[in-house]
Amino acid sequence: MKKMKFIIAAALILSIGGGIIWASDHADAPNVKGKSTDITDLYVFQGANNNNLVFVGNVQGLMSPTTTQTAKFDENTMIEFKIDNDGDNVEDLVIQCVYKSGKMYIYGPVKPANTGLSSTVVGTASVIVPVTPYSSPTPIVATSKGIMAFAGPRDDPFFFDLDQFHKITGGTATGFTNPGHDTFAGTNVMSVVVEVPKSLLKSTGKLNVWLQTKQKS
């Protein structure tokens, strides 16, 4: 019991600094909070076809159904998957997603013009997919050069009892409840899903992947 109080106290002290929220990336840094650049999650997994890898990038989290009706991607924002295939944590390939006039343009996988925080759109789009409207009963999928793409609103796939975690760090609870409650139930995100053949990633077995959003200067 003494140990538990110590832990809670420690968490309390830390949380005074501005609220520690273990929510994937849903509650974020001051510069991106609430903006079209706000990333909620990155997923990378084998496709239904094991020869493919699926990249999922989600932005604009905690949207209610009403908010989702008018949610849009931002033409001023690039959503970019960074891929390191030689283990030095520097990107060797990128998949760039740029929204324009109702469509998501997907570039790559391609060697970037430069690495780091500034990105230039490389070449012409590998696949272009119309953004699926909120009201559409089925998702719009485009396929080109073996690459499949989707862009549009989706149920937020993230699940976590964030409310209870807040109670723990706030000192009004000593642990999670069983069962817990998914704070993200009923909320949506804007999502880009790109499935690519593994052969395009030039991997020798392991990749390191990260997701960035950035805006035009």
């Binding site: 600094g17 510069n31 989702t68 069983n178 409650h181 991997s203 990749l207 805006q215 035009k216």
Partner: protein, 182 residues
Amino acid sequence: MKKNITYSIIGLCALTLAFSACRKDKNNGPTDPNTGEVFSVAGDQVGRPGIATVFVSAADKDMFNTTVPSVMGAAFQSKFQTQLQAYNGGLYTTNLLGLTDSQFTGVLATDVLNVSTTGKTTYYDGTNVLTGRKLDDDVIDVSLILVFGGPDATKNPTLTSDHVDHNDKPFSASFPYEAAPW
């Protein structure tokens, strides 16, 4: 007659496209509206779920988003280590993966998602460790166990699971895998 008009319209469109491609204020090719566009104002950056959110202090969050992964370790490993010990009241020894505080935070501080291209992709399934991230991976429980669970995952039993182990909607076995919005 119709064919001639069609060809005239096509010709007119081709001419228009050619002229618009020559506009000096846009660095675009004629058929792609984005080629060459530069995006240089950093926004957000994410590798593993929740790690930056939990281990990076509020004051450092904007700076973290403008730190590239190849230098993250040097910049953040010791801060992460301090945070990990603080979460555990200074009592962290090792976790289920057998990692000490410096080893564990050494992995976490370079915030990238590790992915296997030769086998099963999952955050952790008891056998495969950090080989990807599937939509239905319970990354929260994995993270809580590794942070709070001690060497055999039995420490801090009220903190090692949030008891929310699935999404509010089922996923699809086919592209695009995510569920339709609410």
